[in-house]
């Protein structure tokens, strides 16, 4: 087996939340102001349900998702589905990957960096995508504790700055604002589909489902607390504060004396963040590899991703908001289908005979 229960828990609880800490807080604050916790909670609940469905499926079968689809619908359909999922994962990864730009400009560079620096991510992603799945699990063993501790320290450093005056909500928001906010936040909440592609690569033991769900819940609670913390610090300025995670701890008084230690913590956090960004790319390569099982498919797809990402970034790096609008507006039904509906319905793929 390539993944263990512990590694799954680390991925669900330690990696999935990280991509939600950069642009998502300001997007939610823009639409919901002090009620930004509600759309987040709503999305997390739906994600949790989908995750439960997938984990429950894993308790009933030890086959991979591909094998289940192939059994039910045939090889051709299974390959087509995986090919489509490959393309889907690639497209769904674009926005979070480009969001990195915000974190880079805020925490890593004083001036607007040259597009060439993105080549390091592209190369890393291409290299990572060639590795077997157990590499992801083992990486999470090392990286998740580091990024979790860093995030915890960032939150602790930010506690002295929070002012809850502007925060505590009274329930006076309109349902359509909640819907709009959820739709715009959706491109960052697609993680629940990933475990579907881990099926068959981990051994479902007693309690695995609940452990994974509990880890996911803990991750969601941390994100919700982060959103609370973020809004208490920035209040009405929140919509402007993209790259939230790199900004919350910079008001810690000791930074004036010893320097920006919060930046070091942000860099450590970024280890997990970058890994989390690479998961959909990895799954895209894996799906395409299954769809086109030739000798060098993985290598070629990884290389194509490396080059493609780099060129896309060079062309579109200044258009993040445009991409966000486009994907946020038109991507909703696609995300819903591939990340929520299909994984939920996959439960029915399990064989019911004894």
């Amino acid at each position: 087996m390539q993944l263990s229960t512990r590694q799954l828990c680390f991925i669900a609880g330690g990696l999935f939340p990280l991509t939600k800490l950069v642009l998502l807080p300001s997007v939610l604050a823009y639409h919901m102001e002090s009620d930004l916790l509600f759309p987040a909670l709503f999305l997390f609940l739906i994600e949790g349900l989908v995750l439960f469905s997938v984990m429950h499926l894993s308790s009933k079968t030890d086959q991979t998702f591909y094998a289940l689809v192939e059994d039910r619908f045939g090889k051709v359909f299974a390959r087509i589905l995986f090919g489509v999922y490959g393309v889907y994962f690639l497209c769904s990864a674009i926005l979070p990957v480009f969001e990195q730009n915000l974190l880079l400009r805020s925490a890593f560079y004083d001036t607007i960096p040259s597009p060439v620096i993105f080549s390091s991510f592209a190369v890393l992603a291409g290299y990572f995508c060639m590795k077997p799945l157990r590499c992801l699990g083992r990486l999470s063993d090392v990286v998740v504790p580091i990024s979790s501790v860093s995030l915890a320290l960032l939150l602790v450093l930010s506690l002295g700055t929070i002012e809850t005056d502007g925060f505590f909500p009274f329930i006076d928001f309109k349902a359509n604002r909640l819907f709009t906010a959820s739709v715009r936040a959706l491109p960052r909440c697609l993680d629940c589909a990933y475990p579907l592609f881990f099926l068959g690569h981990f051994k479902h033991e007693k309690g695995t489902t609940w452990k994974v769900l509990l880890s996911f819940a803990v991750g969601c609670i941390v994100v919700l607390f982060f959103l609370f913390d973020f809004y208490c610090i920035f209040s009405v300025l929140s919509p402007r504060e993209s790259s939230a995670v790199s900004k919350i701890a910079r008001y810690f008084p000791a930074t004036a004396t010893i320097g920006r230690i919060d930046l070091i913590l942000t860099y450590l956090f970024s280890l997990g963040y970058v890994l989390a960004l690479m998961i959909p790319l990895y799954l895209a390569v894996s799906c395409i590899d299954v769809c086109l099982p030739f000798r060098y498919t993985r290598l070629i797809t990884s290389a194509a991703i490396t080059l493609g990402l780099f060129f896309l970034y060079t062309l579109l790096q200044s258009s993040l908001m445009g991409i966000d609008n486009l994907i946020g507006t038109y991507g909703f039904p696609v995300f819903l289908l591939f990340s929520f509906v299909i994984p939920s319905l996959s439960f029915f793929l399990r064989k019911t005979h004894g």
Partner: protein, 379 residues
């Protein structure tokens, strides 16, 4: 496959090495960078005049020292004016260490945020930078020499430090805090920095390069300017500033002067807790309650050794007089907040939370009945 991997790694290394040795990423090296420590904003007709105080490290034989230089630029907007500095000096100004933004008198005459917006937009400007206004022009202010620090920016950082904030005498505010107040239409306030010429005989005067003696100034920030909807509407006196500081800033110990029976006392006010309660009847009633403990710091009459040894204890009449004095100051603050519509107490937010349907627009503060209760006790 192994050879392919090897080739891959060598290409990668060569790629990095080329960029390392050509160093051609549009990077600005530190030697060509001007570190901006403070910025002054003045209005210049329709546009702005920006004065940047730059730290220019100098290598001397004895030790490495840091000199400062003030460079000005003019432009239609603040951003344009800052770019003009780059073109005239050849240095690339970095605002990452800009810890002070000073608005001259001309800059606060109109819409105040027109001058500050650039700093708020710019990701590289730390939004924990202090914001203040000054008397006269910001350019002259930044160019002033002071005996308390090498540069005026450092001197201002000292008088607006967190330590000073905890003493209650000043109301320092960061760019983030001021922006929050501005955008929530709470109105905002900024400390007013006043230059006081140093009296003769107090330390030596500095000599400039031409040999002429330069006047040195001490800075005072005990007055506070009040803003509402981007316009300056009033000022708080030092006593009012102190009172507001005690109410808002979780003071460690604030020296509050009281006169009782012709004797002047200085009480140390500590552990002040301010609470606001809102009730709605025919009109909205807001009760401001301040409770604190007070210790005797000094008085202008002589006392016995026994009395002095009881430093912590303040006599009841003195406490009562102090309560009266603080109540008077709070009432003055209430008058100011009504007059200027600058909601520095945050009343509108409180009312909005409790009674969301209430319209808290312009002039709302005049429709509120305030009552004040001050309780001081011995520790």
């Amino acid at each position: 496959m192994a050879k392919l991997k090897q080739l891959y790694f060598w290409l990668l290394f060569a790629f990095c090495a080329v960029f390392f040795f050509t160093n051609d990423f549009g990077i600005v090296e530190i030697q060509k960078t001007a570190i901006v420590l403070g910025v002054g904003i003045d209005r210049n007709g329709e546009g702005f005049s920006i004065t940047a105080q730059l730290a220019v490290p100098q290598k001397s034989e004895q030790k490495n020292s840091t000199d400062s230089v003030e460079v000005s630029g003019v432009g239609q907007t603040v951003g344009e004016a800052l770019t003009a500095i780059n073109s005239t000096t050849g240095w690339h100004p970095t605002l990452s260490f800009c810890n002070l933004v000073v608005l001259g008198e001309s800059a606060v005459e109109g819409e105040i945020y027109a001058g500050l917006e650039y700093f708020f937009r710019n990701e590289n400007v730390p939004d924990y930078a202090l914001v203040a206004t000054c008397e006269g022009s910001a350019k002259e202010f930044l160019s002033s020499k002071t005996p308390t620090a090498d540069m005026s920016t450092f001197a201002v950082e000292k008088i607006l430090s967190s330590e000073a904030k905890r003493s209650g005498v000043v109301l320092p505010l960061s760019l983030r805090e001021f922006s929050i107040d501005y955008f929530t239409e709470r109105g905002g306030y900024l400390p007013i920095i006043v230059k006081k010429e140093q009296e003769k005989g107090q330390g030596s005067k500095q000599t400039n390069e031409q040999g002429a003696q330069e006047t040195e100034y001490l800075f005072d920030a005990t007055k506070t300017a009040l803003f509402s909807r981007g316009q300056k509407k009033g000022e708080l006196s030092p006593m009012q500033t102190l009172t507001l500081g005690i109410m808002k800033n979780n003071v460690r110990i604030a020296a509050f002067p009281v006169t009782q029976n012709g004797i002047g006392y200085t009480l140390g006010v500590r552990r002040a807790k301010t609470s606001f309660s809102v009730e709605q009847g025919k009109r909205i009633k807001v009760k401001i309650s301040l409770s604190a403990s007070a210790i005797m710091l000094d008085s202008d009459a002589s006392h016995t050794v026994d009395d002095i040894s009881k430093t912590e204890l303040v006599e009841a009449p003195v406490l009562t007089e102090a309560e009266r004095a603080i109540t008077e100051q709070i009432s003055a603050l209430i008058d100011e907040t009504r007059r200027t519509d600058c909601d520095f107490f945050g009343i509108k937010n409180l009312v909005h939370k409790k009674f969301p349907r209430t319209d808290t627009g312009e002039g709302f503060l005049n429709e509120i009945d305030f009552s004040v209760s001050v309780k001081l006790k011995n520790p």
